[in-house]
């Protein structure tokens, strides 16, 4: 039985656009740096950041790709409040595959982020132990209020079948 149904295949190419309701903000930057234990002064000290060629404090590079601030969507039943495709893949569990980021310019507190997500591909594969899985590849492009590109994020989420190969469930 194929996991990649026509219904799922038809979703490839879908796009969602989210624009943050407010600027990223200095507090978000400091909160993130503190949460990950990063005491780099580029993120909290305007004078120091200017000394190194920035207009003022910048965000840690991965913040724009990791935060759901821009999404402003309600929580789902699992408590998640970020972008999601809501793909229906019965009999699977979802795991993260990986991410690939490109950073085009340092993100600043005044940036109002727009994230444009595209569902790039859904491919059927199998795990090393022979279980079927679907690999869903999405790509986000983050831009500021002037349309300038800040960063991109290619992400893979994997739906692994709960069926054990050769099992008699």
């Amino acid at each position: 039985m194929t996991m990649l149904t026509e219904e799922l295949r038809a979703r490839i190419g879908e796009e969602r656009v989210y624009t943050a309701p407010e600027e990223l903000g200095r507090a978000s930057i400091r909160y993130f740096a503190r949460a990950v234990g990063d005491d780099n002064r580029l993120y909290t000290d305007d004078g120091y950041a200017r000394q190194w060629g920035y207009e003022g404090v910048i965000a840690p590079p991965t913040l724009v790709c990791e935060t759901n601030q821009y999404a402003d969507v309600p929580r789902d039943g699992d408590g998640y409040a970020g972008h999601r495709w809501d793909l229906h893949v019965p009999g699977t569990r979802q795991v993260r595959g990986g991410n690939s980021y490109e950073f085009h310019r340092a993100v600043r507190p005044g940036d109002v982020v727009t994230a444009t997500w595209v569902l790039v591909d859904i491919a059927e594969r199998s795990t090393r132990d022979g279980r079927a899985m679907l690999v869903v590849t999405s790509r986000a492009q983050y831009t500021d209020q002037a349309g300038e590109l800040l960063a991109t994020n290619e992400e893979q989420v994997i739906y692994v079948s709960l069926d054990v190969p050769g099992g008699d469930r």
């Binding site: 002064r41 190194w52 913040l63 990791e66 993260r96 980021y101 950073f103």
Partner: protein
Amino acid sequence: MIRAEPTVGAEVPPLTRTITLTDMVAYAGATWDWHRLHYDPDWLLARGLTQPVVDGQVFGALLAEALQDWLGPRAALRRLHFRFRELVLAGETVRCGGRVTRVAGRLVTVEQQVEVVGDRPRIAVAPAGAVVELRT
């Protein structure tokens, strides 16, 4: 402040961090990601998990931090990629290491990984790597 001049083969000084449940809650708040996988005992129990699972994306932040700490404020990350191999659970200690594989002008390419150290050592994130620009 100019720090190490990276050369091919140079090791990225490892960044070691114990990720407590408090750290995970702080990260969930800071990223607006309140998925129950990262803190809710009832949700975890119902799915056969014994400990909250660390949000994998935090390893992106730590891999970036390891490079930025090493190369200093002139360094700007241009690319970063990472693949997840094993879950990391609340209270575990991770070590982010790496080495330089290429230096081309102002661009430094590194291979990185995140390993769990302690009672149950394993590679959590690999392959991973980055390209850093040393700004003038």
